[in-house]
């Protein structure tokens, strides 16, 4: 019996090593063999996204922040506000500066000093979508028309890169703006704006923005990335799947299920039927993400009330 048990254990271990070797040597064949059974290497269905969690207020020194985990992909978004003079073209609006960072801790492909190629692409996409979706009203960031307004620095750090980076970055940016709390400010004698401490009652100067402490968030955009391989549509691909499959499409929808953006960087030609399938998956995903975000916002409000 002992010999049999040892033989079985050795066989099992050898089997595991063989599977792992097959996975590394023939990744495409490995994936296709799974897809034939409508399953993915990590046991998900093709249309299934990974579990998602959002934690607000992850950075105490920032005015708004959020930590988002999408499977193993982790994003940390943080917003800091500074006062600036608004531009001449838009004297009653604030502005937003978006920066997406991939520090070398997040992936073996990133080296210190040289920024990752994908980082500025995601920065630009994030900025475009935040602006064009109508989520934010920049007029709310104005303090004194023509003289002072807020500049919001949005920094998104990728802490672990395991696929669908843009999706995770967008969720974290949206969550950080949801959590954003604008500090109270007054105008000094020299005309400069300064923050007022917690002691509101004894403020010598008149408060400029007593009422507007939170941004009005409308039309929240959410995105879903799909990897396309022959007849299969894989929602929310992992880094391994992204490296094997060359075609992907990212759909961004707003609160009314209207399309904010569709992005398909190269790859094989795709039929409209497949694109429509992706849009349908993105609609389902948007509803789930909205639930997750609202749950966190409500939990945060309850915490603050107590």
């Amino acid at each position: 019996m002992a010999a049999e048990a040892q033989a079985t254990a050795a066989g099992g271990l050898a089997g595991e090593m063989e599977v792992e070797a097959y996975r590394r040597l023939f990744p495409l064949a490995f994936l296709e063999r799974h897809l034939r059974e409508s399953v993915r290497p990590d046991a998900r269905r093709p249309a299934e996204a990974r579990p998602t969690t959002v934690a607000l207020a992850a950075v105490s020194s920032a005015h708004g922040s959020a930590l988002v985990r999408l499977g193993d992909t982790a994003m940390l978004a943080s917003i800091k506000l500074e006062v600036m003079s608004p531009s001449g073209e838009a004297p009653d609006e604030g502005s937003i500066a978006v920066e997406f960072h991939m520090p070398p801790i997040c992936s073996p492909l990133v080296r210190p000093g040289r920024p990752a190629e994908v980082a500025p692409v995601i920065s630009k996409n994030l900025e475009d979508i935040l602006m064009s979706s109508g989520m934010l009203n920049l007029k709310e960031l104005c303090l004194i028309s023509g003289k002072a307004s807020w500049l919001a620095y949005l920094d998104v750090y990728c802490l672990n890169a395991d696929g669908s980076l843009f999706d995770a970055a967008l969720i974290s940016a949206v969550a950080a703006f949801t959590h954003l709390e604008i500090p109270l400010v007054s105008v000094g004698d020299d005309g400069r704006v300064f923050t007022v401490g917690g002691n509101e009652g004894k403020a010598k100067y008149e408060l400029v923005n007593r009422e507007k402490r939170k941004l009005t968030i409308t039309n929240v955009p959410f995105s879903l990335t799909c990897a396309l391989h022959k007849d299969n549509v894989l929602a929310d691909p992992t880094a391994e799947e992204e490296s094997i499959i060359e075609t992907s499409v990212t759909i961004v929808l707003d609160s009314s299920d209207q399309i904010v953006s569709i992005q398909k960087p190269g790859g094989a030609v795709t039929s409209m039927t497949t694109i429509k399938e992706c849009i349908s998956l993105a609609k389902d995903r948007r509803r789930k993400l909205r639930e997750i975000l609202m749950d966190n916002v409500e939990a945060m409000e309850v915490d603050q009330t107590d």
């Binding site: 960072h101 520090p103 500049l151 672990n160």
Partner: protein
């Protein structure tokens, strides 16, 4: 981005301006810190209490090994990659190479982008770990240690060193012993351990010790400011004692991670 960059030139942080009264109050506070023998620290700790430590392995699955550390407000994440092929520009080497890089997030400090000033931390981290890693076990290759400070709340470098040694162990790199590190600050005749940012801003001097407790060897000792001989000895012993206790915590984390893996 060019428009945003142009807009950035005219920005300033809306911090309260300092007045004459504030300066007087500062001087009074400095006298109090230096001369009084006993005062409670802002977070309620006594002079020789460290902040509560939370440490965890494996936050970055893309890396060979990784660790996350949280000491009060200071949050650090370290990833270890390798041993992997060295860059082609490097010459052949019988022993392995250790490459360290420390960076700060832009929001790590109260004033944005302030973390760029700590360029020497990468070299100091390298020197602290070099003595502990068995470089001969991975010839011709490089082990990369990347640290990212998510929030800077004081005593950043000691926490980075402790977290990095935990990440190296998580990656399976052979080391002689875990390296733990603690720093102390000096206020007149008082020594306080594991200072916060506010305490560091006021200190007369500081000592940082990186220590391998099982072997009783110091891999790095850094001293700033003015210290008397007797006080240096006391401070170093205090650090070594705290390092031993911290090492027990690290070993506990590694055991937990190992038992979880099975």
């Amino acid at each position: 981005m060019s428009a945003a960059a142009a807009a950035t030139d005219g920005t300033y942080s809306p911090a309260a301006a300092a007045g004459e009264k504030r300066r007087e109050r500062k001087e009074e506070l400095r006298r109090h810190l230096a001369e009084d023998a006993d005062w409670p620290r802002a977070d309620g700790r006594s002079f020789h209490d460290c902040r509560p430590a939370f440490m965890q392995t494996g936050p970055t699955t893309a890396a060979s090994g990784s660790a996350y550390a949280e000491f009060g407000k200071t949050k650090v994440i370290v990833s270890v990659f390798g041993p992997r092929e060295s860059k082609k520009a490097m010459l052949y080497s019988d022993t392995g190479r250790l490459n360290c890089n420390v960076s700060y997030t832009t929001f790590a400090t109260p004033i944005r982008g302030q973390g760029m000033d700590n360029k020497e931390y990468s070299a100091m981290l390298h020197k602290a770990l070099e003595g502990a890693v068995m470089l001969h076990t991975f010839p011709k290759t490089t082990v990369d240690v990347f640290a990212l400070v998510l929030e800077s709340g004081g005593s950043d470098l000691p926490i980075i060193i402790s977290c990095a040694s935990l990440a190296l162990a998580d990656a399976g790199i052979m080391i002689y012993d875990l390296v733990t590190s603690v720093s102390v600050s000096c206020f007149g005749k008082n020594i306080i351990i594991d200072p916060t940012s506010d305490e560091e801003a006021w200190q007369d001097g500081s000592i940082m010790v990186a220590y391998m407790p099982a072997r009783k060897e110091i891999t790095q000792l850094t001293l700033t400011g003015e210290w008397s001989d007797g006080k240096i000895t006391n401070a170093v012993e205090l650090c070594m004692d705290a390092c031993s206790k911290l090492c027990d915590i690290l070993r506990e984390r590694l055991k937990d991670a190992a038992s979880l893996a099975e």
